[in-house]
């Protein structure tokens, strides 16, 4: 496995972005950083800049106000990149799905690689979702990929 893919698989850097949610998922995602769950022991780090991130973790239904910013953040991330939709709103927009200022789930705007359901999902579920996605990447790209 070439060194880049080993690094991406072993210690992915995560960018957290809220697209209009109630903050429920955000506080559980942040809780994953804190001592009881300590996601950093899995090598997962929350990062500040899209340009350094491997994984985009998105919470909230996509509001009209935020859509362009969300797309821009995604475009600023270097390849290969993955998107994980955290929480029911990010999955489908529900219960705000029909509201006039809401487009729907994240996959109305971006390609999504993993979905973590819950309202909100517990920190363990979020970590599980991220870890599962990394595992699948390791399995499908064992000798490295230039995607």
């Amino acid at each position: 496995m070439n060194v880049f893919n080993w690094a991406r698989a072993k210690s992915p850097w995560l960018l957290h972005f809220n697209t209009g949610g109630c903050n429920g998922c955000d506080i559980e995602l942040v809780a994953a950083l804190t001592p009881k769950f300590d996601v950093e022991r899995f090598g997962i780090r929350l990062q500040g800049s899209p340009r350094h991130a491997d994984i985009l973790a998105v919470t909230g239904p996509v509001t009209l106000q935020i859509r362009d910013r969300l797309v821009r953040v995604y475009e600023q991330m270097p390849e290969p990149k993955k998107v994980i939709a955290v929480g029911t709103c990010a999955l489908s927009g529900s219960p705000f799905k029909d509201c006039y200022n809401v487009l729907g789930g994240i996959d109305t705007v971006l390609p999504v690689d993993a979905y973590v359901p819950g309202c909100p999902p517990k920190p363990e579920a979020i970590i599980d979702g991220i870890a599962g996605m990394i595992q699948r990447r390791r399995k499908s790209e064992p000798h490295g990929s230039d995607k």
Partner: protein, 157 residues
């Protein structure tokens, strides 16, 4: 209910010319409806003479051919007085209270963008919450605006 009843009667006496009705369904809650023409004067007196110095928020309600603007005042945290003024839709404006209460400015902006009420004298009625590019005359909380119609507007943005 003692204090609330007293205050209700004081209000009834003080504003008998401008008032349409006043009622107190429970303690610490008074609802008053007044005529638009008496609005500015009434608000001044409520703040200065009656001590209703905290403005909790301003609500706009679409009544059909009128829009009612309701000002929710509180007195030292306790009695909540809601003062409603009905405005005909063809002359949908009322003077701002932001000169008397600076906090009113944000609430007036909100009622303006969702129901189309003009607050004369408010220097900033720019959108507070609706997205950039939202069509100017589409007021989401008007009853004639259906969900489907609003969704269409959202989707084409």
């Amino acid at each position: 209910m003692g204090q609330t009843s007293e205050v209700t009667e004081e209000l009834r006496a003080a504003f008998k010319d401008s008032m349409i009705e006043v009622k107190a369904p429970r303690e610490r809650r008074i609802f008053m409806r007044i005529k638009k023409v008496a609005f500015q004067e009434t608000v001044k007196r409520l703040i200065n003479d009656f001590g209703f110095r905290h403005l909790s928020t301003i609500t706009g309600v679409d009544l059909g051919d009128q829009v009612e603007v309701i000002y929710h005042f509180a007195r030292e945290g306790a009695i909540e007085l809601s003062v409603g003024v009905a405005l005909p839709k063809n002359t949908l404006s009322i003077s701002t209270v932001s000169g008397l209460m600076p906090a009113a400015s944000v609430y007036e902006r909100e009622v303006h963008e969702f129901l189309g009420v003009s607050f004369e004298g408010n220097p900033n009625l720019s959108p507070l919450v609706l997205p950039e590019g939202w069509p100017k005359n589409v007021y989401p909380l008007r009853k004639e605006r259906t969900f489907e119609e609003l969704r269409q507007i959202g989707a084409t943005k």
